[in-house]
Symmetry: C2
Subunit: 265 residues, 2 copies
């Protein structure tokens, strides 16, 4: 199972939209997909029209009460299951402060889960706290959604520092697979300049031993497209809601860049 | 001094852009403005071209080492001072878990500060953790930047619940002054529907004793405008960078809605 963490501590750059629609693209191409929501806002399940009830086990119980993943898992669509979040997770940062091995709790739960998925995607909150660290420890790959604005660059450095620390101290297999430009407005000068800066930065890391030394700036960019925002309001992925839109095309193309055996749309 | 917290746990909705440019609009209208950055990302100072150095005291030292605000304050422009954040603040959530009275640390520091400002704006991170709670405890007013997307509504309920709790338990003067639609694309159906839902929700609260019972949905909306994203990349507010843009006009209009004695542009 490929284990991919979807991470960026900058808010609102498309992490959840990417986890949901990339996951849906993988599933449509025949991959079995496990989604994990690590964001207390709990929006990931809503992208599929699934409202999490209080009685249902969530990722919070997995992390704090040793609930097995199998007890928290929900079937969303053909080929897609999810371990949803709920608002209790908001307290996890504080609650886990004194728990020994708090960075490996998720990895233990996933390793114990006997699922036969082809790929797991973990949606992270906009922070580099204990939840995001759990994702970095549990995964081999990181995909970074990024909005080509000034602060996109600012945050990237800090994020990569954290990836490096986790790799050095806890998870030697961790690598950055790539950066995907989201909410992209290619016609703006700002986007062009920021994209260029990211490209140069990645080129400069080639051949080094940094965990991003072979990270791609994905050719596919996820263009700004209102259908992507609308689809979640109907509890649908963009493939259900607007299958011919740029949003659907872009995520299908991104899926093909991530899995060699997925055909371009 | 009016004390206004700029809050929304949803990421990337325009909290920092609003704190910076609304603050600048107030200052241009002659108000003395104190900005406080509670976001570990530390972007607020960058909107004014100020890079925080490690040796400089920041809001982190104010909260954890009883550094007086006067020692951490930086002069940004005429009429604008800031207590900047730095990345150490990322650890504050965990560090403050066991500190007694951790929700009132900021209020104590502000009450002890003898400044003669007319208005204080506090920029919050995308979470409802201890930093945001400190802002709610320190302020009398809340302004909520909100993107008229599906998740804008989702998060609002949770945010208002938190405001209610803080009001009931710690800060009886707390009120929601208003909600400002940011990154607004008025021509989209999604924005129209979400705006209507927010409007109905606020109407339904009139005459109740909820702290949002007289919250306005500001008439001014901050329209999507690339100048607002570009200005920060030059270390400028939109009033320096593009004073004739819609971005500048919108924040000037918002300032006039918030202070009766500020003239409309
Ligand atoms: N390409 C796009 N075009 C238009 N709207 C988009 C696009 N991608 C995401 N959105 C919308 O922008 C908002 C923010 O996206 P999203 O919630 O995926 O970001 P996020 O990084 O997960 O945010 P957070 O940091 O709060 O977790 C959502 O309302 C979403 O529907
Ligand atoms: N009205 C607007 N039009 C175009 N771009 C905007 C607008 N408002 C903000 N932006 C840009 O959108 C991005 C997100 O805005 P901002 O950083 O202010 O949000 P935030 O709520 O403070 O995010 P976070 O949750 O990460 O703190 C920034 O790159 C900013 O420059
Ligand atoms: Mg998200
Ligand atoms: Mg911000």
């Amino acid at each position: 199972m490929r284990r991919i963490a979807i991470i960026n501590q900058k808010g609102g750059v498309g992490k959840t939209t990417t986890t949901a629609n990339l996951g849906a693209a993988f599933a449509r191409a025949g991959k079995r997909v496990l989604l994990v929501d690590l964001d207390p806002q709990g929006h990931l399940a809503l992208h599929f029209g699934h409202e999490v009830s209080q009685e249902q086990s969530s990722i919070y119980d997995v992390l704090t009460a040793s609930t097995p993943i199998a007890d928290a898992i929900v079937n969303l669509r053909k080929n897609i299951t999810i371990v949803p979040a709920d608002i209790d997770l908001a307290g996890a940062e504080a609650e886990l402060v004194t728990v020994m091995g708090r960075e490996v709790l998720l990895r233990e739960a996933i390793d114990a889960y006997g699922g036969n998925d082809d790929v797991m995607l973990i949606d992270c909150p906009p922070s580099l706290g204990v939840l995001t660290i759990n994702a970095l420890v549990s995964c081999d790959e990181v995909v970074i959604p990024l909005q080509a604005h000034f602060f996109g660059l600012q945050g990237l450095g800090k994020l990569l520092e954290t990836v490096m620390l986790v790799k050095q101290r806890i998870n030697p297999k961790l690598r950055v697979t790539g950066i995907v430009l989201c909410m992209h407005e290619a016609s703006t000068r700002l986007a062009t300049e920021v994209t260029e800066d990211i490209s140069k930065f990645l080129d400069g890391a080639r051949g080094t031993d940094a965990p991003w030394s072979d990270a791609k700036l994905f050719e596919t960019t996820i263009r700004r497209n209102i259908k992507l925002a609308e689809s979640s309001s109907f509890g649908q992925t963009v493939f259900d809601y607007a299958p011919k839109s740029n949003g659907a095309l872009d995520y299908a193309n991104l899926a093909a860049e991530i899995f060699e055996d997925i055909e371009k749309p």
